[in-house]
């Protein structure tokens, strides 16, 4: 990597995804921008309906109809064969979702760890077979000669051992429903890593599993990230998980980035009123008990009734007059953080 000027691995610019329903247009992602640096763990945090999962689907070109990427760019730097760095930049937003190039990148260079490993694995194929299939599909990228099934199976056993599955030789022949929740998520991680991706998207990877198992899976992801230096986009609503995993955080609300910055700044010096309110509303393990928690007033607006202006303005404690008419654009507030808020900048998003 070029040390003095790191170039992003993934650069999302002004991404808009909307769903044309009979009842009206839902603007699920409405002008989202962020960068992922090579080897960085980026956390995207937000509540239901903030567009975090749709952003992830857009990156993988998996937005289902009637959803559509209406504008914006998703620039991804591909890995040149046999090399670790550099590479040509492709705009994923322009690629046909079913085209050969997108199919090559999806799974091969950008892998996904989904939330529900039970739903993500096929119940009628062994977990090993599913990993082997992925390896056979993508192995041409990192080696010239074709792998045999036997070799792919050996790689899979090695991966299972890497992710801490005991008795990997037996477990590759298990079906997903024979594995516990923790093991299933480990197998999913093995599958995501099987094609040596440069970017891993983890969509709520520990939400469906128990807290002690979650701690194990998070530790595993941290170790693997350090070992392979894979960039990770970590999507979750759990602020605790974000604080422990991410080095850089993007806070989303109603399809827009409210604030982004290094994890320490986001948690200790939040700038946007939404980030501040969100952090205050979580019960802590140290605070006073059995007292009313500070809440964000009002409720999330219905997707068809998006407020004009700043999407957060009807619930914002520091609302000003122009917040209801103009949309603030994402601007630097200091040399580390960016926020979309008129408290810090007068810059308006072009209509």
């Amino acid at each position: 990597m070029n040390a003095e000027a790191p170039t992003p691995l993934l650069s999302v610019r002004d991404l808009k995804v909307s769903f044309a329903l009979d009842e009206g247009l839902v603007r699920a992602v409405d002008g989202t921008s962020f960068d992922v640096m090579p080897g960085q763990v980026l956390g995207i945090v937000g509540e239901s309906g903030c567009g975090k999962s749709v952003t992830m689907k857009a990156i993988l070109q998996l937005v289902e109809r009637p959803g559509r990427i209406t504008s914006g760019a998703i620039r991804f730097r591909r890995r040149p064969p046999g090399q670790e760095d550099g590479g040509e930049v492709v705009d994923l937003a322009q690629l046909p979702p079913r085209g050969a190039l997108m199919r090559d990148i999806r799974g091969g260079e950008i892998a996904l760890i989904p939330q529900e490993p039970m739903a993500a694995f096929s119940p009628v194929h062994t977990v090993g077979d599913q990993v082997i299939e992925a390896i056979l599909l993508h192995s041409h990228r990192w080696q010239a000669e074709k792998l045999s099934r036997r070799e792919a199976r050996d790689i899979t056993v090695g991966l299972f051992r890497d992710v801490g599955i005991s008795m990997p030789e037996q477990r590759v022949d298990a079906y997903s429903w024979q594995l516990s929740g923790g093991l299933r998520q480990r197998a999913m991680i093995a599958m995501a890593l099987s094609c040596k991706p440069r970017l891993l998207i983890a969509d709520e990877p520990t939400t469906a599993i128990d807290v002690t198992t979650q701690a194990q899976v998070l530790a595993l992801l941290r170790d693997l990230q350090a070992k392979y230096n894979t960039a990770i986009i970590f999507i979750t609503h759990d602020l605790g998980v974000i604080a422990q995993m991410a080095s850089y955080v993007v806070v989303m609300y109603l399809g827009r980035v409210m604030e982004q910055g290094p994890v320490d700044d986001i948690f200790h010096a939040p700038k946007h009123p939404y980030t501040k309110a969100l952090l205050r509303s979580i019960p802590s393990l140290y605070g006073e008990t059995r007292v009313a928690l500070p809440v964000i007033s009002g409720s999330l607006p219905h997707p068809f009734n998006r407020p004009a202006g700043c999407p957060f303005h009807p619930r914002c404690p520091q609302v000003m007059e122009r917040c209801s008419t103009a949309v603030p654009s994402l601007q630097p507030v200091n040399d580390r953080q960016l926020a979309s808020c008129f408290l810090y900048s007068d810059a308006v998003e072009p209509a």
Binding site: E47, S48, S180, G181, G182, L183, D210, V211, T212, T213, Q214, A215, Q216, L218, A219, R222, H237, D238, L239, G240, V241, I242, A243, Q244, M245, V263, D264, F267, H268, A277, L278, L279, S281, I282, P283, S284, L285, G287, T289, R290, V291, A292, L293, P294, V295, I296, S299, L300
Partner: protein, 339 residues
């Protein structure tokens, strides 16, 4: 903490002793019973009037099964569930016949986890919230509508909403509707099974505040079943921790967080990701997995995962003992080792 010995409290509202619930494992054409899943096997706790007891543990620990036994949604295999009725009589809910239970149903109600699955989508709020009144034969149609309006106002919804259907409401609003329904019959004990785990952070805070406010106002007693320790800590006076069907620790909230006296409780607390990047929660991660309640380990059920385990833990099952006033633990080493 409310003191159980205070003159206003003549003993606990609920006293669960040695609760057991086994599910048979059947095999073959004749469905012979070849074993049992000991989903709940030795749960003892009391709930005092007006307090919140938090019941925590991971999936499969039996916390939901235990709470369903108390409601007699399922019949316990063994043990006693002593409940002090509004009339002041102590009855064993585990031994009552269905007909004898009926008059008590109004006193013990439940709030469910899933705000989408727990409301009938074909019924208006009036019918959903008014159903417990109808079933318990309370009031005529007019009186029920008045009561539903009052309940909706109580949980922060507009009474005009009563003619709408559940699909018109968000997750947080639906959970408020579920709470209104649970309160319809004016219950004394409310069992809340993961009432906020399906909700977003900001909505979760609103619902927790509502529960605290309602408890104060209506003098409710809560059995709060959940897996999220920070939520349980926030709302509970005392906390009971379950592991593989057994109660392993029970203590006042502040005390259990300050000095957990069971290694599982300590590990559970360490596993919670702290929402502060300056605090690292990587030490002491529990290895292994929760054993199956159909084939639990010998001795102490936790010994295969316990870093403090000694030879005795492998052979001798510890009993639940009171290590300090009001602080119970099921561990041989409690008091000798800091977990």
């Amino acid at each position: 903490m409310r003191d159980a010995s205070a003159p206003s409290a003549p003993g606990p509202l609920l006293d669960v002793r040695g609760l057991q619930k086994f599910f048979p494992i059947t095999k073959g054409f004749l469905q012979r019973t070849v074993g049992h899943v000991r989903a709940v096997d030795g749960v003892d706790f009391t709930v005092n009037e007006g307090e919140t007891l938090g019941l925590v543990g991971e999936s499969g620990c039996g916390k939901t099964t235990a709470s369903r036994c108390i409601l007699r949604a399922i019949d316990p295999t063994g043990g006693e569930i002593l409940y002090r009725t509004r009339a002041g009589k102590v009855v064993d809910l585990a031994a009552l016949k269905p007909a004898e239970l009926l008059p008590l149903r109004a006193e013990i109600q439940m709030i469910f986890q899933d705000p989408f699955g727990s409301l009938n989508p074909r019924m208006t709020l009036l019918d959903n919230v008014g159903e417990p009144l109808l079933v318990n034969g309370m009031g005529n149609r007019r009186e029920r509508a008045d009561r539903v309006a009052e309940l909706l106002r109580l949980v922060g919804l507009r009474p005009e909403f009563m003619h709408r259907f559940p699909h018109a409401f968000s997750g947080g609003q639906r959970q408020r509707i579920g709470i209104a329904r649970a309160l319809a019959t004016n219950p004394r004990l409310v069992v809340a099974d993961e009432p906020v785990s399906a909700l977003d952070v900001s909505v979760q805070a609103q619902v927790l505040n509502l529960l605290l406010e309602l408890q104060e106002r209506l003098k409710l007693t809560f059995l709060f079943v959940a897996h999220d320790l920070s939520v349980v800590r926030h709302i509970s006076d005392r906390i009971a921790v379950m592991y593989v069907g057994q109660l392993v620790e029970l203590a006042p909230t502040a005390e259990i967080f300050r000095e957990p006296q069971h290694p599982y409780t300590a590990a559970l607390m360490r596993a919670v990701p702290v929402p502060d990047p300056r605090v690292h929660t990587t030490d002491g991660i529990l290895g292994g997995e929760v054993p199956s309640p159909a084939a639990p380990p010998s001795g102490c059920y936790f010994h295969p995962r316990c870093r403090h385990a000694i030879a005795r833990c492998r052979v001798e099952a510890p009993e639940l003992r009171e290590i300090a006033p009001g602080h119970f633990t099921r561990c041989h080493l409690a008091g000798e080792v800091v977990f």
